[in-house]
C-alpha cells in the first residue's frame, strides 16, 4: 500500500518539476518586443480595461474617467472627441452659431438621430437633460460644470429671486449695493427670462440678479448668522428683504430652449469662449426622458431598461465583472463604426490588469494602468507601451492661511528649492512643470520660477529664517500610494537639503485625504499633494481651480483681481488675445505662489499592435467609432514568438 502511494507522490513531484522547467524555458520571452501574447481576438471585438467598476452608466451622475469612456460610446454628444488632438468635431450637432457677444449658442441637430427604442432624438431631449443635470433634487455631483448656463447655478443652489410686490421688479446686486446700510431700497430688475417661452424682446436686466436661499431657515441664517457654524450674519439684508416676495428659480429659468425640434439654443450667464469644448464631456450629453420617467432616476440605467443613443449599446452589465457593448445598427453613423463589440472588464489592481494584458485576455488599457515601477523598463523594451502628453498635473497646495506660509517669500522659497527634473525622471514621459497648466496647442503656458536654491535661501532669510533657523516643522499630506510616496519623499529631501526645513510626511487613506484637503477644511499644516486631470482641452480647466469660488482651490489663497482677469479673458472672443490674457492671469497667480507645481503626467498605456486608431491623447478619451482590429497583424506577421501555442495545445483546460 505504502509503495503505491509513494510512487504517486513521486509522479506528482515529477509533473511539478516538469511544469517549472517548462516555465523556465519560456523565460526567454523576456526579450520579446511586445508584452505577452499577440493574438487578435475573433471578429471586431475590443477588450479594453477602463479601470474600476463603473459607478453608474448615467452620464449625468458619473464622475470618474472609467465610466466616462463608456458613456462616450453609448451616448452621442453634440460634439465628439477627435482621437488625435481632442478637438471637438460635429456629431449630433451638424453646425452651430454664436451671437456677437458669445452668450447665445444655437445648435442645429441632425434629423436622423434616434434613441435605441426608435424614438427620435431632438432638441427637446437636450432641454430635458440639461435641466435635469442641474436640478437640485437630482443632485448631480458635476452640476457645477454647467454653471456657465444662465440661471443654472441659482437653480441648482435652491435659490430664489427677490421680488417687490408693489412694483413687480426684481432685486439685482446693484440694488443691494445702492441700498447699502441706509440708502433707498428700490428694485430695478425686469422679470427674469423664462426659457419655455419664446424670447421676449424688451427690457432685460443689465445687472446680475440678487439671489437668496429659497429655504426660509437658510435665509434666516444668512441674515442673522449661523452660530452653529460660527458664521456672521448680514443684518443690513433684513431691511432690504423686508416685505418682499421670494420667487424660486424654476427649471424653466435655466437657459436652455428648443427653438424647434432640431434647433437647441443655450443662453450663457456670461460670454464663454471655451463653451463648445465643454460639450463632449459626458455631463452635457442627452439622456432618455422616456426611460428615466418610466424607471426613475436610478433604475433606468439597468441593462434591461437603458435606452441609449450612441454608436454602441449595452448588451450586458455584470457588475465587477464586465460591461459588454455591441454595435448599434440604427445609429446614424453606423457605416463608419468599425468595432462590433467592446468589452470592458472591471479590475482595480494594476498588476491584475497587466496579467490579463500579458496573457492576451485584453487588448488595451486606460492610461496609468501600468504600475509606475514598471514604466521605465516597459518604455525601453516593449513596443506596445504607448505614451504621449496628457492634461494631468501634479502639484503641492500650500496652506496660505497659516504662518509662515502666509508670507509670499516663504512660498517662493519652497518652490525654488524643488528640483523638478529629478522628480520627472522617475517615470517616462513626465515633464517638469513650473507653471500651473500643461502646454497646449494654442496655449503657451506661463513660465513660473524653476530650481534656484540660492535665491530660495536668500528669500527664506529675508522672511526671517536664515538657513531654516526657527522655521516650524511643517506637514506634507498625501494620499496613500506608492508613486505618491516616492514623489513626496523626494520633495521632503530637497526641502531639507536646500533650505534645512524639516517636513513631516503624513499619508492618509483616500477619503480622509479628500476630506482634509477640502477648501472649506484645509486640515494640513503646510503642504498637500494635489493632482488634476483636465475635463476639456482649455487652460480654463486648470486656471479656474484657483478662483475664490472654486471648491477645489484648497490653498486658502483668493484674489479678486485674479478672478476678474479670468472672467475678462473668458469673455474675449478673439482666441489669440484670450490665450494671452489667460497667460497673464496664470503668471499673476504664480507670482504669489499659492502652489508648487511639480510635473505634467503622460498618458501611458499598453495596447496590442493589432488595435488601430487608439492613440495616447490629452484627455485619454477615445473616439470609439474609429477604433478597429487589424487581423493581418499577428505574432507571425510581426515575426515574434507565438506564445499562443500552449493555450491552443492545452485548450481543453481553458474551456
Amino acid at each position: 500500500m505504502m509503495t503505491v502511494r509513494t510512487k504517486q507522490l513521486e509522479l506528482v513531484a515529477l509533473l511539478l518539476a516538469l511544469a517549472v522547467i517548462s516555465a523556465a524555458c519560456s523565460a526567454s520571452a523576456k526579450n520579446e518586443p511586445y508584452f505577452g501574447k499577440v493574438q487578435p481576438p475573433e471578429g471586431q471585438t475590443l477588450r479594453y480595461i477602463t479601470g474600476a467598476e463603473p459607478q453608474t452608466l448615467d452620464p449625468q451622475y458619473m464622475t470618474g474617467q472609467p465610466e466616462s469612456r463608456i458613456a462616450a460610446a453609448i451616448f452621442d454628444g453634440l460634439v465628439e472627441y477627435t482621437e488625435e488632438n481632442m478637438k471637438p468635431r460635429p456629431s449630433l450637432a451638424t453646425n452651430w452659431d454664436v451671437n456677437d457677444d458669445g452668450t447665445i449658442w444655437t445648435f442645429h441637430l441632425r434629423k436622423d438621430a434616434k434613441w435605441t427604442d426608435g424614438a427620435p432624438l431632438n432638441a427637446n431631449d437636450f432641454v430635458y437633460s440639461w435641466r435635469r443635470a442641474v436640478s437640485p433634487e437630482f443632485a448631480a455631483p458635476y452640476a457645477s460644470l454647467m454653471y456657465v448656463v444662465k440661471f443654472a447655478e441659482p437653480y441648482n443652489n435652491n435659490s430664489a429671486f427677490v421680488r417687490d410686490p408693489q412694483t413687480g421688479k426684481y432685486a439685482t446686486e446693484g440694488d443691494l449695493e445702492r441700498a447699502g446700510t441706509n440708502g433707498p431700497v428700490s428694485f430695478t430688475g425686469a422679470e427674469p427670462e423664462r426659457f419655455d417661452k419664446a424670447p421676449a424682446d424688451g427690457a432685460k436686466a443689465k445687472e446680475k440678479y440678487f439671489f437668496v436661499p429659497a429655504d426660509a431657515d437658510d435665509r434666516g441664517k444668512l441674515v442673522n448668522g449661523d452660530p452653529a457654524k460660527n458664521k456672521p450674519g448680514k443684518p443690513e439684508l433684513a431691511r432690504f428683504l423686508q416685505g418682499k416676495e421670494f420667487v424660486n428659480v424654476a427649471k424653466e429659468n435655466v437657459g436652455v430652449r428648443a427653438l424647434d425640434d432640431y434647433t437647441f439654443q443655450v443662453t450663457l450667464e456670461a460670454p464663454t469662449a471655451y463653451f463648445v469644448k465643454l460639450l463632449y464631456h459626458q455631463f452635457f450629453r442627452a439622456v432618455p426622458r422616456q426611460a428615466i420617467e418610466k424607471w426613475g432616476d436610478q433604475q433606468w440605467v439597468k441593462p434591461s431598461h437603458i435606452i441609449t443613443s450612441g454608436a454602441f449599446k449595452v448588451e450586458e452589465w455584470s457588475p465587477y465583472e464586465k460591461i459588454v457593448l455591441v454595435r448599434n445598427p440604427a445609429f446614424w453613423d453606423n457605416a463608419n463604426t468599425k468595432l462590433d463589440r467592446i468589452i470592458f472588464p472591471a479590475t482595480e489592481q494594476l498588476t491584475t490588469a497587466m496579467n490579463l494584458y500579458k496573457s492576451g485576455e485584453i487588448d488595451c488599457t486606460q492610461s496609468n494602468e501600468v504600475p509606475p515601477p514598471w514604466r521605465n523598463q516597459m518604455k525601453e523594451t516593449k513596443k506596445d507601451y504607448k505614451y504621449g502628453p496628457y492634461l494631468q498635473i501634479e502639484y503641492l497646495a500650500i496652506n496660505t492661511k497659516i504662518p509662515p506660509m502666509n508670507d509670499v517669500r516663504v512660498r517662493r522659497a519652497l518652490n525654488l528649492a524643488i528640483n523638478r527634473q529629478i522628480i520627472a525622471d522617475q517615470a517616462p514621459g513626465r515633464q517638469p512643470l513650473t507653471a500651473f497648466t500643461p502646454k497646449m496647442d494654442e496655449y503657451q503656458n506661463a513660465e513660473g520660477e524653476g530650481y534656484n536654491p540660492d535665491l530660495a535661501r536668500k528669500l527664506l532669510a529675508e522672511a526671517g529664517f536664515p538657513n531654516g533657523k526657527g522655521f516650524p516643522e511643517i506637514e506634507q499630506l498625501y494620499n496613500t500610494a506608492e508613486s505618491n510616496k516616492q514623489t513626496m519623499e523626494l520633495v521632503q529631501a530637497m526641502l531639507k537639503k536646500e533650505l534645512n526645513i524639516k517636513v513631516e510626511l503624513t499619508n492618509v487613506e483616500w477619503r480622509v485625504y479628500l476630506e482634509k484637503t477640502r477648501s472649506t477644511k484645509m486640515e494640513f499644516k503646510g503642504l498637500a499633494r494635489r493632482g488634476w486631470i483636465g475635463d476639456y482641452v482649455d487652460p480654463n480647466t486648470f486656471l479656474d481651480l484657483m478662483t475664490t469660488a472654486s471648491a477645489n482651490n484648497g490653498t486658502g489663497w483668493a484674489d479678486a483681481k485674479y478672478d476678474q482677469m479670468l472672467l475678462t479673458a473668458n469673455a474675449e472672443t478673439n482666441n489669440e488675445k484670450r490665450m494671452q490674457m489667460l497667460r497673464d492671469a496664470e503668471s499673476y497667480m504664480l507670482k504669489q505662489q499659492p502652489v508648487i507645481p511639480l510635473f505634467v503626467g503622460p498618458s501611458s498605456f499598453m495596447c496590442k499592435p493589432y488595435v488601430k486608431n487608439l492613440v495616447p491623447n490629452l484627455l485619454d478619451q477615445h473616439d470609439w467609432r474609429g477604433v478597429y482590429i487589424d487581423h493581418n497583424i499577428t505574432a507571425e506577421s510581426l515575426g515574434v514568438a507565438d506564445l499562443g501555442w500552449r493555450s491552443r495545445f492545452f485548450g481543453f483546460l481553458n474551456r
Binding site: M1, N158, K358
Partner: protein, 461 residues
C-alpha cells in the same frame, strides 16, 4: 438538542443587530464621505446630496430609519452604485464567493486530511517531516504572494489558465427549459445517492454488533464500490464534458451538457456494478479509496456550480449560468493553501493523540484491517479539531476573501466589502457585515451540532 438549536438561533438575532449597530457607528465616526471625490463639490451641490440621502437629519433619526429598513429585510440602495440595491449585490456576489470558498475548502479538506493522517501514521518518518514542512510553508506564505506566483506560472508562462477574472457559462439552447429540467434530474440523482449512502453509514453505526466487522456480508463492500464507481465516473466524465463542451463546438452546449452527464451516469453505474463483482483484493480497494479522495472535489465543485446557478435563477439578477471551471482553479488553490496546511497539522495532532488510545489497540487486537482501524475508528476521533475549525474557516471562505478576490478580479463579496469601506458606502457595508456575521454564527452552530453526531461523548441538553 432541538432546544439547544432554538436557543442558539434566538441568540443570533440580537447579535447581528449589535454588529450592524457597531458597524453603523464606526462608519459614522470615520472621516470622509461617500460623495467626496477629487473634483470637490460646491457647497450647494453637497447640500443637495445630503438632503437627498437624509444626512441632514439628526443621527438618531437616521439610525432609526436605517434599522427599521433593515428589520424589513431591505438594506436599501448602495451609495456608490446608486442603481443597485444591496440585496441585489449580495445575491450576485455571494455565489461567486461561495463557489470559490467551498471549492477551496474541499481541496483543503481532502488534501489536508490525507497528508495529516499519513504523517500521523508514519510519525517521525521522512514523509512526516516533509509534509509538515510543506504545511509550515503553506501557512507562512501569504496568499498575496502565492496567488501571483501561481498566476506567473500557470497563466503568464505556461498560458494554461486565465490570469484573472470570472465568467458565467451562459448558453441558451433552443429549449432553455430542457437545461433546467435535466439539471434538476441530475441534482436529484446525486442527492439521492448521497442520502442513501449516509443512510447506509448511519445504519451500520447503530447496529449492535458493529465491533464485529462481518467482512463476508454481501452488501457493504459491493455497495461501497458501486457508489465509488458512480462518483468517480460522474465526476471525471462530467468534468471532462465541461472542459470539452465549448471547444468541441458541438451543438447547443447548454442542452448537450446535462445529456452527456446523464449518459455518463448510466455508464458509471454499470462500471460500478462490474467492479462490485470482483473480489476485494487489497490492491483494488486501496485503489478505489485512493481515487475517492481525488474524485470528491470535482464532483462537489460541480454540485456547487449547479447550486450557484440555481441561486442565480432565484435571485433573478445577472446572467443565469454556471461558473466556468477555468476561472475557479487558480483562486481556489491560492485560497486553499493556508487551510490545507492548517488542516494537515490539526489532523496529524488529532490522529497522534487518538492512535494511542485503548480502543484503537482493541480494534487492532481483534484483527481489524489497518485501513478499517484508521478510517472507522481513529479518524472519527482524530478529526474533531478539524471539525471545530471548519465552522469559522468555512464562514470566512464563503464570506469572501478580500485579497484573493482582488488579485483575481473576482466579483465576490470580499471585493464589495473592501470597496464599501473605502467608499463609505454605508448601506452596502451594513448589508455585507450583517450577512457575514450571520453566516459565521450559523456555521458555528452547525459545527456544534456536528460535534454531537461525531463524538458520542458530547450531548447538548
Amino acid at each position: 438538542m432541538l432546544k439547544f438549536i432554538i436557543r442558539r438561533l434566538l441568540v443570533i438575532f440580537p447579535m447581528v443587530l449589535l454588529v450592524i449597530t457597531l458597524t453603523w457607528a464606526l462608519i459614522r465616526l470615520a472621516p470622509g464621505n461617500f460623495y467626496s471625490q477629487p473634483k470637490a463639490l460646491p457647497p450647494a451641490v453637497e447640500k443637495n446630496i445630503r438632503a437627498k440621502y437624509g444626512l441632514d437629519k439628526p443621527w438618531y433619526v437616521q439610525y432609526g430609519k436605517t434599522m427599521w429598513q433593515i428589520l424589513g429585510g431591505d438594506f436599501g440602495f448602495s451609495r456608490q452604485y446608486p442603481e443597485q440595491t444591496v440585496n441585489e449585490i449580495l445575491a450576485r456576489s455571494l455565489p461567486v464567493s461561495a463557489t470559490i470558498g467551498l471549492v477551496a475548502y474541499l481541496i483543503a479538506l481532502v488534501t489536508g486530511l490525507f497528508f495529516g493522517t499519513l504523517a500521523a501514521l508514519r510519525q517521525n518518518s521522512a514523509l512526516d517531516y516533509s509534509s509538515m514542512a510543506a504545511a509550515m510553508l503553506g501557512i507562512s506564505i501569504p496568499n498575496f504572494v502565492l496567488g501571483p506566483i501561481l498566476v506567473l506560472l500557470f497563466a503568464l508562462t505556461l498560458y494554461w489558465l486565465p490570469a484573472a477574472r470570472w465568467d458565467w457559462l451562459v448558453e441558451f439552447g433552443p429549449f432553455p427549459w430542457l437545461k433546467y429540467l435535466l439539471w434538476g434530474v441530475f441534482i436529484l440523482l446525486v442527492a439521492g445517492i448521497a442520502v442513501f449512502s449516509i443512510y447506509r453509514i448511519m445504519r451500520r453505526r447503530s447496529s449492535p454488533d458493529r465491533l464485529v466487522e462481518d467482512r463476508s456480508a454481501e452488501g457493504v463492500s459491493s455497495w461501497a464500490v458501486t457508489i465509488v464507481g458512480f462518483l468517480i465516473g460522474t465526476a471525471v466524465l462530467v468534468g471532462l464534458g465541461f472542459m470539452f463542451m465549448k471547444s468541441a463546438n458541438w451543438g447547443p452546449s447548454g442542452v448537450a451538457m446535462p445529456v452527456i452527464a446523464l449518459v455518463l451516469v448510466i455508464i458509471a453505474v454499470g462500471v460500478g456494478y462490474w467492479l462490485a463483482g470482483r473480489s476485494h483484493s487489497v490492491v483494488l480497494e486501496s485503489l478505489v479509496y485512493g481515487i475517492i479522495a481525488a474524485a470528491v472535489p470535482p464532483l462537489l465543485a460541480l454540485l456547487i456550480r449547479m447550486l450557484s446557478g440555481l441561486f442565480q435563477l432565484t435571485a433573478q439578477v445577472g446572467p443565469f449560468g454556471i461558473p466556468r471551471l477555468r476561472y475557479i482553479l487558480l483562486p481556489a488553490i491560492t485560497l486553499a493553501a493556508v487551510y490545507m496546511a492548517y488542516i494537515a497539522r490539526l489532523t496529524r495532532a488529532g490522529m497522534l493523540e487518538v492512535l494511542r488510545k485503548d480502543y484503537i489497540r482493541t480494534a487492532r487486537a481483534k484483527g481489524l484491517k489497518e485501513r478499517d482501524v484508521i478510517i472507522r475508528h481513529a479518524l472519527r476521533g482524530g478529526i474533531l479539531p478539524v471539525v471545530s475549525y471548519t465552522g469559522p474557516a468555512l464562514a470566512f471562505l464563503v464570506g469572501g476573501t478580500v485579497v484573493v478576490e482582488r488579485i483575481f478580479a473576482l466579483p465576490g463579496l470580499g471585493n464589495y466589502l473592501i470597496n464599501a469601506a473605502l467608499n463609505r458606502d454605508e448601506p452596502l457595508l451594513l448589508g455585507i457585515t450583517a450577512f457575514i456575521s450571520t453566516i459565521i454564527l450559523l456555521f458555528n452552530l452547525l459545527v456544534d451540532i456536528a460535534y454531537a453526531y461525531i463524538d458520542p461523548r458530547i450531548r447538548y441538553s
